[in-house]
Symmetry: D2
Amino acid sequence: MQFLSDNAARVHPQVWEALRAADDPDKPYDGDALSQRLDDVFAGLFGRECAAIWAGTGTAANCLALATMVEPHGGVICHRESHIEMDECGAPGFYLHGAKLLLADGAGAKLSAESIGAVLAGITRDVHQVHAHAISITQASEYGLAYAPAELDAIGALAREHGLGLHMDGARFANAAAFLACTPAEAAGTVDALSFGFTKNGAMDADAIVFFDPAKADLARWRRKRAGHLHSKGRFLAAQILALLEGDLWLELARHANAAAAEIAAGAGERLIHPAQSNELFVAMDAQERASLREQGFAFYDWDEASVRLVASWDTRMEDAAALGKAIASL
Amino acid sequence: MQFLSDNAARVHPQVWEALRAADDPDKPYDGDALSQRLDDVFAGLFGRECAAIWAGTGTAANCLALATMVEPHGGVICHRESHIEMDECGAPGFYLHGAKLLLADGAGAKLSAESIGAVLAGITRDVHQVHAHAISITQASEYGLAYAPAELDAIGALAREHGLGLHMDGARFANAAAFLACTPAEAAGTVDALSFGFTKNGAMDADAIVFFDPAKADLARWRRKRAGHLHSKGRFLAAQILALLEGDLWLELARHANAAAAEIAAGAGERLIHPAQSNELFVAMDAQERASLREQGFAFYDWDEASVRLVASWDTRMEDAAALGKAIASL
Amino acid sequence: MQFLSDNAARVHPQVWEALRAADDPDKPYDGDALSQRLDDVFAGLFGRECAAIWAGTGTAANCLALATMVEPHGGVICHRESHIEMDECGAPGFYLHGAKLLLADGAGAKLSAESIGAVLAGITRDVHQVHAHAISITQASEYGLAYAPAELDAIGALAREHGLGLHMDGARFANAAAFLACTPAEAAGTVDALSFGFTKNGAMDADAIVFFDPAKADLARWRRKRAGHLHSKGRFLAAQILALLEGDLWLELARHANAAAAEIAAGAGERLIHPAQSNELFVAMDAQERASLREQGFAFYDWDEASVRLVASWDTRMEDAAALGKAIASL
Amino acid sequence: MQFLSDNAARVHPQVWEALRAADDPDKPYDGDALSQRLDDVFAGLFGRECAAIWAGTGTAANCLALATMVEPHGGVICHRESHIEMDECGAPGFYLHGAKLLLADGAGAKLSAESIGAVLAGITRDVHQVHAHAISITQASEYGLAYAPAELDAIGALAREHGLGLHMDGARFANAAAFLACTPAEAAGTVDALSFGFTKNGAMDADAIVFFDPAKADLARWRRKRAGHLHSKGRFLAAQILALLEGDLWLELARHANAAAAEIAAGAGERLIHPAQSNELFVAMDAQERASLREQGFAFYDWDEASVRLVASWDTRMEDAAALGKAIASL
């Protein structure tokens, strides 16, 4: 019973079907019929004009999105525990040609208009300091918390006021949208670009970058090719994305993962470090307790000395989640 | 009947099987059992110690390999018609942080010790000119020509003499090895790193970078992560590569593609611009002749005003190739 | 009697005076009164709005200018013998983050609308090839040839038609302007940014970058700081530039250097490889002839096996130039 | 009476003499006799083999030094208030191609083996996090504090233990060495490269980068040219450095600046935020007090709401410093 990572989950059967169905020669790169459908499908989903391109990893999606907003001498305001700061081996430094991540604070790894404003207020000295060109937020956050539409509105307003780009790392956008029970458009707020993750939610290796200014997508296409991310058989990436969007399968899978996490959370009770708002939980637990759970067959990662991380996926069995919840309650 | 590109070919059934078999949770990134087997499998293939990592595209494979050899202030000697110069949208400039491609000449897009030496001889002025740090050759070349072992030896000796890294872009390494009818080790010569292509030869999206100095692979792992090319479900890339190496399927498929090209070449006769040494042919043809072939149902790309490019794949039907050969002969 | 390089020349007495006069505490960086005067002085010189910043070297001036026009995935069309291609150790690759130099041909290292058009015509394949974002021309060219106003107009029209930035490397702009006997504005044509050289023409270490779109200067200020080219005592760079602009000293010095070169050219006659249009001459000469001149006390660099380069400076004595002319005539 | 910055100070008369004396044609770039003397002069000063090159600014010196130690995928441990982090507009990100600054804490902007160790301990996750390649310390620190030899030894030992490069930003190395009253070698500890500042200490625009591994200097020469920092008349930079090293003028000037600061410090007493260990003081002062001092003719910068920064220079008159000390005491 693995609760290690949604990265470790299986590929959904409908994705497999779509992959096999795509195995017919078509135009290479993103000239194929499937890739060409992405703009329309995402425009339908978000109810506004947009252009969408695929990328093989979330890191690539984040960095290609940011590369359309940030000049090499600029910076990106992000949370100091965000994925782009902590887990991408400096990829933003590479893709943005040395632009700087400007670190902000916030409980649960969430930014707020206030914490972003504090970073902006600290940048004072003409050309001697790096100025912000963009803000990047994570929906859901590194600790599994969702930004509510009103929070997104406040950040969006601040970005516009300061002329900053706004990017959303949506590696778990599906889980946030499912939790918020709002429209995808509301869960995305007024971001300029969204890294819309599918790999953690039933795909094999396909994320989308949705640009609400289509001109930015054209720019990202250059950067994608230049970064070696333009797959020659791009139809296989598009196929995965389309399969998961079809009939809102993506939401259904995320709802399941969230529900499984909720089962665990119910058992964790007071041990929960952050409220359960997606498929990721952080649970206080000492070494002996961890050992006990592992002996019972539960696999998960330590987070730090005082807590563990538990991640449910689209393919987590509810009975396993319930069992883990009970086991924690019984510790 | 498409002869557009081997990029447009299908995924081989054994690759599909391997992909499905890999759909079981394992460690993320390249910690899974399949990815961990690559070093040994390639060491067996080449009969010498090596370390191998996967990459999702050939451009990424080339650039990650070169990044282990070339400092930002250095240069790479390559053919002026090579893929890294002509078709990667400046990806080497991105991955090598502005290092320069130093262009050499040679018939059929092949370099020789002489043409490389001519570039080296022209670099004279201390820190004012970019110095070469590496050489990159393409096996088979952009025009489908294979480097014979003796040619590789001469280039390898020159590289060692000048202390230069040696990289081989092997997007069609399989086709070259099949044509040369030598061992893989002989077809690779004494290169330091080989981009070993599978995507054009039955895979969905997986190439390998084989480093004959394992320390360089460790370096490339950092660069791969930093470039967003470390797939979280890397087992799916490893599975493709292993499936094609199993029982030398890669060679069998390349031999088929070469044989299909040979059928066409037989019909093309004097029209062939370069000898047929792989699965790619360049055939002299005027506009009216092209139109005639297309009316007969053959799909292919124009190369320039005087010639077309015809590419056979692992899934080209021999009867289609024969038909195309005949159609050309009848023009 | 040295004809090695105008880089080797002395600092003009009026520059020394200006440097000493500037040795009074003022605001650091470019906040001082002298630096603040540059915009107006150059606007007066060119008769149009502009913004000007100083840089300590010509390489920095060229690269900072280009960085305002070229995105990392773009390219710069330049002559294959231009300074940015041949003599800056890949500095454009560094400053432009891997953007590519797209090489064009032309007699005397001069581009033309035709040769630029030929490069543009060769770029055809969507995101697979680097597209041009700017053109860079050199006034006077590497071979000392000046672009006439009509030539500049044709290139400027082409740049506008294709939406390309236009940069002029004016390391020897003074010599070109002096030769053309036109206004500075005519000698600059419709470029967007001009690297206006002073170091080869009486300064110690100060060149200007003149932006005819002041917004670009603001951008260049960030890049300059980021490249470590924002001197803390910038008043000393501004002082040099102002001293040379004062009373058109820059033109007077260039006229002298050109006149000295003309003396030599008169003696060189048929040996001249390019017409004498500035202070640089390329003269056909065999090894024995070179040795003879050197025995007579003339210092100069070999250019290639068949020719030498002779450079006159603001401080070349006319009698030395005449002596060299005679010595060549007597060979 | 200006206490704004040592950047605002005058050029020392012996430097002017040396500049004038250098105004005789010599080999361009750093081939001149003066530049060629730097290695020996610094080797004498530090009593060990070294190679030294000049740079026109401190930012360039820091970044060129670090570029010899840090690969693009690596990081530099530095203080979160260090100049490279706060005041160079992201120049390290540019020169190091996106490498990351890894921020450490420490009172008075000084690092310690402990605070560096804490950063190292926090880097745990394989290729997902940026690993440190080097440490950069500032002598004297941003708050004017000197590292004692024993502190440098501890940091040097840690660097060796972890295989990290060690860089010293010595923009005010002279002031630290003067305060410590030890040998230059002791004040530099076991760093691999030292940015040895002269511009704040009597020069016009010349800092040195001293490499204790001469091979690194060769590498830095490429990077310097590529960054546009290879001045064509480099003799003028070398001349400034040699003039200040001659007869230990650099130490004499620093001792004077420190003594002037000590005069002020004596008056500031309890208001001093950090002990006076160089020529920079940070003094607690409210708005009314600042206004009072400014009315009395003292010029200085605010540091934050609670304090001001006062900087003495080689050309600060002792009587002015004493007057400022008295004025503060009388507040």
